[in-house]
Symmetry: C2
Subunit: 277 residues, 2 copies
């Protein structure tokens, strides 16, 4: 491809399910002119309970699907895929690959003043220690506390994101996190679903900490990272152009997609095309 | 096997995960002297998001594992496996097979006076219409309303089963069910996890209905069905003997097993043996 062709190529995003649409949402806000191809491997969701080898195999298939559509950048919205398959994906890709963990970890390090960071995510992400590895590799002096919050995913999927139940659940979890380390001043949302609960999480964290707590949305951190990568390799299209970019969505199973997708994307979706990997 | 050998053989129970231990719990209460072999296919949980063909293949492997251990009866604790694989499992088994759906459906029909029945379960179970098929085949005149309650599974797994959050979540769901049909007098817990939330579900249902609502616990209905099947084929051991039966547990992945297992079984567990199917 010539450079101009490449510049007009879409950005590829994949996830094990529909949660990765929060990354698409952040991308469309940060880089409104870019075309995007999204793939949700909804037939095999969740990746979190599968072996690293299986996750790697599925992730490579997802990435290949995007590469076959000529993407100029691959974004792994799934934390489990990022934790288990980033090296394999990077070495199999001719274009840059951005994982879900590093951007959030870097933003957290750039943000924390106290150097006390909290990470919340699924059980699989917390167990993988992916954020701990990323953060300690850059600053071994940071105090890191993490906590799995299993109810946040179904709360986000039900759309119960800022009500009495969401508030009580957030309080029940975060009180445990701030009991571990009351000095946390930066909290990483280490799951694609959690940005939907951002407001209630931020409010409860502040009230428990009795000081300001900066919430790092890993979807937004990924979008910032995409802007940097594309800008530095001169692959960014002119995002001042008025026409919004195309969004093409693919999924491996259509169960409950339309209802959930609109919730995560934050705009109406024109539909998913069913694909077999 | 001679009849006496067969009589002393264990009962086999399988599930996609650990939720099926609620069936083991009910069995140990109804038939305390019986030995039990339990298999949780925890590496491939959940079955609900997989294709019927895959569910059938996995279920057959689980059943074969139990048959290889010489069980005299196979119990499918998983609703998805029951809905998708019961015919294949029955025809592949030399011993009786009890699914998760029929016992609960039959108990509901025997219980309801108004002939208005509610069924709650996972999204997969509700979508499969398995309870509707089972109930309408026996009594087409019943009015059936069903509702998926996705938060009940993580609530049960967290052990948040009878507190303010559980009550609010139960109310949020059940108000929708009783809005569909205020005349429901029998509510089927169509998911292995839900018996842990039985108290709060029963209380909230009663307060919304303003009349008595009988809660059918499908785990208990399965245990009653096992007693009948074993009794009628003279395969039941003498359950008046004082020594409690052995319980051997197997799983295909050990992640989070010990914490969850004790919660669902209601007694300390001696541990799981890891197997590869």
């Amino acid at each position: 491809m010539g450079q101009d062709t490449t510049r007009r190529a879409p950005i590829g995003v994949f996830d094990s399910g529909v949660g990765g649409l929060t990354v698409v949402r952040a991308l469309r806000s940060a880089l409104p002119g870019e075309d995007i191809v999204y793939l949700g491997d909804t037939a095999r969701v969740p990746y979190g309970s599968k072996s690293p080898r299986t996750v790697e195999r599925y992730s490579l298939a997802c990435q290949q699907f995007l590469l076959d559509r000529g993407v100029k950048l691959v974004m792994i919205a799934c934390n489990t895929a990022s934790a288990n398959a980033l090296p394999a994906l990077t070495s199999a890709s001719p274009v840059p690959v951005i994982g879900a963990v590093l951007p959030g970890a870097s933003t957290a390090l750039a943000t924390t003043v106290a150097r006390h960071v909290g990470v919340i995510g699924t059980l699989g992400t917390v167990r993988s220690n992916a954020y701990a590895h990323a953060i300690f590799a850059r600053d071994p002096g940071v105090v890191l506390s993490s906590l799995a919050c299993p109810l946040f995913v179904p709360l986000a999927e039900e759309g119960w994101v800022d009500d009495e139940i969401a508030e009580l659940v957030a309080r029940r979890y975060l009180v445990q996190l701030f009991a571990k380390d009351p000095a946390i001043d930066t909290l990483v949302l280490g799951c694609t679903h959690y940005p939907l609960l951002r407001d209630v999480i931020a409010r409860v964290a502040r009230s428990l900490a009795h000081h300001e707590v900066f919430v790092v949305d890993s979807a937004r951190a990924m979008a910032d990272s995409a802007r940097e990568v594309l800008g530095s390799s001169l692959l960014s299209i002119d995002n001042r152009r008025t026409a919004p970019g195309r969004l093409d969505c693919f999924a491996t199973d259509t169960s409950r997609l339309d209802e959930l997708a609109t919730r995560f994307l934050g705009e109406p979706i024109t539909g998913f095309e069913l694909v077999d990997l």
